[in-house]
């Protein structure tokens, strides 16, 4: 199981990084999303993998619980990353609509005026 999770994190990271290195905004957004999955799973997994032991306290008997702290951190991370994705999407959309170009590189322009002495 650990190997499955670790390899999934690795593959998601690799795919995310590869897409972030593309030159158009949409693949970069996809890449960011994949990277977000990778990071969230990574953080979650730092609590180690446990099945069938959710951190819901059982009042009636002593049972084992998984680590709740990474879960709380990742929960807010998921919501925040939605906010981040939304902002990035908005910026990409605004940039595309304004310039009719969804490239991520700055357009090459002629050198500006010389600065004053």
């Amino acid at each position: 199981m650990e190997l499955l999770v670790a390899s999934a994190v690795g593959i998601l990271t690799a795919a995310g990084v590869y897409l972030i290195l593309r030159r158009r905004s949409f693949p970069v957004i996809l890449g960011l999303s994949l990277l977000t999955y990778a990071v969230n799973v990574f953080l979650f997994a730092t609590g180690r993998l446990v099945t069938g032991a959710p951190p819901i306290l059982n009042k009636y008997e002593e049972v084992a619980y998984t680590d709740p702290l990474p879960q709380a951190l990742v929960l807010t991370a998921i919501v925040i990353s939605f906010g981040m994705t939304a902002v990035v999407v908005m910026i990409a959309l605004g940039a595309y609509l304004s310039s009719r170009d969804d490239g991520t590189a700055m357009p090459v322009e002629a050198d500006g005026a010389e600065e004053d002495a």
Binding site: G10, R22, L30, T51, Y65, I78, M106
Partner: protein
């Protein structure tokens, strides 16, 4: 008056001139003058204590752990400098009132001047060297503003920039030196450092610290080879030159050397670096000054020369030389400030300060002539003026100094410098005031009004009085300040008097005066020879250097930061991988302590789905719609695995976020190209693939290593598990952490989420307000449109679903404290329920039924959360401390109620508002005229029937 107040007064006062300038220039000047006077009087109140040899302290600990404390102290040396700064400051404020013309923004001038004054007072009163450094940098900045005060003059701007560059970089070096010094002494307080002479001088860090600190002092005090900025700073208005460049800022370097004299001086390193630099500076400055035609340039180089003299005296490292240095600091401040002001008067009235165009002013400006002549004679070292006394002491000291085995070299060079000094002082008198009256002055020279000459006149009176009655007038001050410089102990025997008998110094002095007179007689041919001589032009060298630095940094910046996002990302990822690898190589990896768990069939299937979907996204990312579908698959598998791995809350959150994200991306994709073109060459893709593979390997390897080992340190999670029910009143530990243990984080996070939604809203407004709107209005959809945009089945289904979905949201919300759920998830579910209405029934229909603006919902969420947190204050607890209790309302079962639930309500509202505001903003792009119908459904048989009935009926 407290030392805090003395240091703070100029800063406080800096506000007033800028404000009061509306009430007139006199108001601005009086405000500046009054605050300075107040600080000056406050300082004078300390006279009894200081002259008893006591040290006045004022201390507030700020960051004691870092050694950064607001400690001030006042001893003789600090008193001397503070008195000079504030006293001459007063004269300058008066002088500037009449010097500046109507066009100059005077309020600004006085504000800058007071800022500078405050920074200087701060330097001389600081006990903590870190605090001293802060004030030190402040003087560099405020002097930049003052030198560049005439912004319209290119010389002013260039001079200010040069001064800032030179003194600023020196200041940086000094920071390093001071930190080393503090490190050796084990304290950043001067009063402690000054007690640690042996420790400091025997340390290996002594030499580096010494050199770095001296770099700061030498640049500030314009010592060779950093002297070149001072003449260029003369582009400043004359009051600034008189203040900064005679009495205060350039003396800051000397002050520092004098302050640290007890611990740094006395070693051969100190002697050879400081005394030699001072000697060279004294000579070079004096020689150049003789050949300058600009009055202020002459005075600037003469200042350089005199600063060199004082530096040299401090460099000798003997106590008697330190006394002479202190005495000359006083004398130089009096005659040089007077001379600068005289030069300013001449410039102001005669219209030029070019010596070649002046002469014969004696008859036209008798008062100015008198002031200038007495001050210049003192600078030349003519008895019975004060300049003679300290120069005599200096020459006496050089006669006893052995430099590298030679008895002669120091006295000979010092006499030569004194000779040139006398020559340029005589030139100042003869070529400006004496000689024939001319009729081609650019202005109409006459004596200025009293306000302008009273300041220099006062200083000249001091020059004469100190000269005639030095032991009475200056004696106590010199003794107190010199006592502080040498750091306690007995002062050596000295006497401040005019006649010491036939000493070597007297012969040297006579030689210098006679030589000076003969140099002046030979000035014309000498000037020709000087002009014909090739000399390095400091400004050209400086500018070439700066140009080289600029090109270098441009080269580096453009190489790294060229506007191609891909490159930044590649550099960042590669660098991150590289340092991780470096850390991996440097560290040790413990043995595996955990067993690998056998996966069941389900995880393997999930893994397979995830990997295939991910690989397909990479392979097919050019088809954007397809990759969106595939990313949905990935998200689904991730949520499922959260659920499988005992994280039901995460699974619920992930799956609802997934829905919202995909809708968001679909909305955006609607306006963007549906295909990504092939642009990158295969080689680049290969390179990117390699970077990606390595980073994936790194991330995967790291988490695998982590998963196979137990916690290295005891986890804090046990605390949360143990206290969740007892302290937070909930059994869902994750939710209790969110709304209780880590409530502060959550509070911050909902604010961030709200800000993100606002940013999206603002961007939408901006884009829709631009010319993009026309494009959007006329745009033709690039994909075939559905014939029925709002199908009946979907509309009906979502209407039925709405109350159900909201019910689910409420259920999830309420059970959240004890079972998986909570405000975040409930908020997402509720948002999805509302988005469904938008999708099914159309934007216009849904907006019409939307009663509360989403901004307000976000705001109310944050406010509710904040109010809940503040509620704890009324309970006498810190912000966000939660409380809970159990209620029993028959016939209901007993239930638990926590204030955290109220906080969770804030979270819920903020999430709902933020998600909906983001999506609503995006969908506003799609609006086109005619798109909205007043009906929820495009095709409605009932409506058709009614219409038919209407026409028939």
């Amino acid at each position: 008056m407290s030392l805090f107040l003395i240091a703070a007064l100029p800063f406080i006062g800096a506000v007033f001139p800028a404000l009061l300038i509306r009430a007139g220039r006199n108001a601005a000047a009086s405000a500046a003058g009054l605050t300075t006077l107040l600080a000056f009087i406050g300082l004078m109140l300390h006279i009894p204590a200081v002259f008893r040899g006591e040290t006045v302290f004022a201390a507030v600990d700020w960051l004691p752990a870092l050694g950064l404390n607001a400690h001030f102290f006042l001893d003789g040396l600090g008193f001397l400098f503070a008195a000079m700064i504030l006293g001459i400051g007063l004269l300058i404020i008066l002088y500037a009132r009449y010097y500046l013309s109507r066009e100059d923004p005077m309020g600004q001038f006085y504000s800058y001047l007071l800022l500078f004054q405050g920074a200087m007072v701060g330097i001389v009163l600081s006990d903590n060297i870190l605090l001293l450094l802060v004030f030190w940098e402040l003087t560099s900045l405020s002097s930049f503003l003052l030198i560049g005060y005439w912004k319209h003059l290119p010389e002013g701007r260039q001079g200010a920039r040069m001064a800032l560059t030179v003194t600023g970089s020196g200041g940086l070096a000094m920071i390093a030196g001071m930190l080393m010094l503090g490190h050796i002494a084990g304290s950043y307080d001067l009063s402690v450092i000054l007690q640690n002479k042996e420790a400091i001088q025997s340390s290996d860090l002594y030499l580096p610290a010494l050199i770095l600190i001296l770099l700061g002092a030498f640049t500030k005090s314009a010592q060779f080879p950093f002297h070149f900025w001072l003449p260029h700073a003369m582009a400043a208005p004359t009051p600034v030159s008189a203040y900064l460049h005679s009495a205060t800022m350039v003396k800051a370097g000397l002050f520092l050397m004098a302050r640290l004299w007890p611990v740094l001086a006395g070693t051969p390193e100190w002697f050879y670096i400081v005394a030699t630099t001072g000697l060279v500076t004294m000579l070079v400055g004096a020689v150049i000054a003789l050949f300058k035609d600009d009055l202020k340039a002459l005075l600037a180089f003469s200042t350089v020369s005199h600063l060199g003299l004082i530096t040299m005296l401090l460099g000798f490292g003997t106590k008697i030389a330190a006394v002479a240095a202190v005495f000359h600091i006083i004398n130089h401040a009096t005659f040089k400030a007077a001379l600068f002001m005289t030069a300013g008067i001449v410039d102001h009235e005669a219209g030029t300060r070019d010596i070649k165009r002046l002469g014969g002013l004696r008859h036209l400006m008798p008062i100015t002539f008198t002031i200038g002549t007495v001050a210049a004679l003192s600078m030349a070292g003519i008895p019975p003026l004060n300049g003679f006394l300290s120069k005599e002491m200096m020459l006496e000291e050089t006669a006893h100094t052995i430099w590298n085995g030679s008895h002669l070299i120091v006295p000979a060079l010092a006499t030569l410098a004194a000779l040139f000094s006398a020559a340029y002082s005589f030139r100042f008198i003869v070529h400006v005031f004496l000689g024939q009256k001319r009729d081609d002055y650019p202005g109409h020279p006459h004596d200025p009004n009293t306000g302008m000459w009273i300041g220099p006149a006062f200083l000249v009176v001091l020059v004469v009085l100190i000269g005639l009655a030095s032991a009475k007038l200056a004696g106590p001050m010199v003794a107190t300040a010199a006592g502080a410089v040498i750091g306690g102990g007995e002062l050596p025997y000295y006497s401040l008097k005019l006649w010491h008998g036939l000493t070597p110094a007297l012969y040297m002095s006579i030689a210098a005066t006679i030589g000076g007179l003969s140099l002046l007689a030979l000035h014309k041919p000498l000037q020709r020879a000087w002009n014909a001589m090739p000399r390095p032009e400091a400004k050209t060298i400086f500018e070439a250097l700066i140009g080289a630095f600029t090109r270098l940094s441009q080269f580096v910046t453009e190489g790294l930061h060229n506007g191609v996002l891909t490159r930044y990302a590649a550099i960042m990822v590669t660098f991150t991988v590289a340092i991780s690898y470096f850390a991996y190589r440097g560290g040790t990896l413990g043995v595996e302590t955990r067993q690998m768990q056998e996966p069941g069939a389900l995880p393997v299937v999930g893994w397979f789905a995830l990997v295939v979907a991910t690989l397909f996204i990479v392979a097919k990312h050019r088809n954007r719609l397809l990759s969106l579908v595939l990313i949905g698959v990935v998200g689904l598998v991730v949520s499922m695995s959260f659920n499988y791995l005992s994280a039901p809350d995460l699974a619920l959150t992930q799956i609802s976020v997934e829905v919202v994200t995909i809708i968001l991306l679909l909305l955006a994709l609607n306006f963007m190209p549906k295909e990504t073109p092939v642009e990158t060459p295969a080689l680049t893709r290969l390179r990117d693939g390699a970077i990606a593979a390595v980073s994936g390997l790194g991330a995967g390897g790291l988490i695998y290593a982590l998963l196979m080992r137990d916690f290295a340190f005891p986890t804090i999670s046990d605390f949360h598990l143990a206290n969740s029910y007892k302290g937070g009143g909930g059994t869902n530990v994750v939710n209790v952490i969110l709304v209780d243990f880590r409530g502060y984080d959550t509070f911050g996070e909902i604010i961030v989420l709200g800000i993100a939604a606002m940013v999206i809203f603002a961007l939408t407004e901006a884009v829709l307000g631009s010319k993009v709107r026309a494009f959007l209005l006329n745009r033709k959809p690039d994909l075939p449109q559905a014939g029925d945009a709002h199908p009946l089945m979907m509309v009906v289904a979502t209407r039925v679903m709405m109350p159900l979905a909201l019910m689910v949201a409420a259920y999830i919300f309420f059970r959240g404290h004890n079972l998986p759920g909570g405000g975040f998830i409930a908020g997402l579910v509720a948002a999805i329920a509302i988005i469904m209405q938008y999708m099914a029934s159309g934007f216009a229909w849904a907006t019409e039924r939307q009663r509360y603006p989403y901004h307000a919902i976000i705001g109310s969420g944050v406010l509710i959360a904040a109010a809940t947190g503040m509620g704890a204050w009324f309970n006498g607890k810190p912000f966000l401390t939660s409380d809970f209790g159990y209620l029993h309302w028959p016939p209901l079962e007993e239930f638990e109620w926590a204030t955290a639930a109220l906080f969770d309500l804030g979270v819920f509202l903020a999430v709902v508002g933020a998600v909906l505001l983001a999506l609503e903003s995006l969908s506003r792009f799609a609006w086109q005229p005619g798109i909205s119908s007043e009906h929820a459904m495009d095709i409605n048989p009932a409506r058709d029937a009614a219409a038919k009935a209407g026409t028939e009926g």
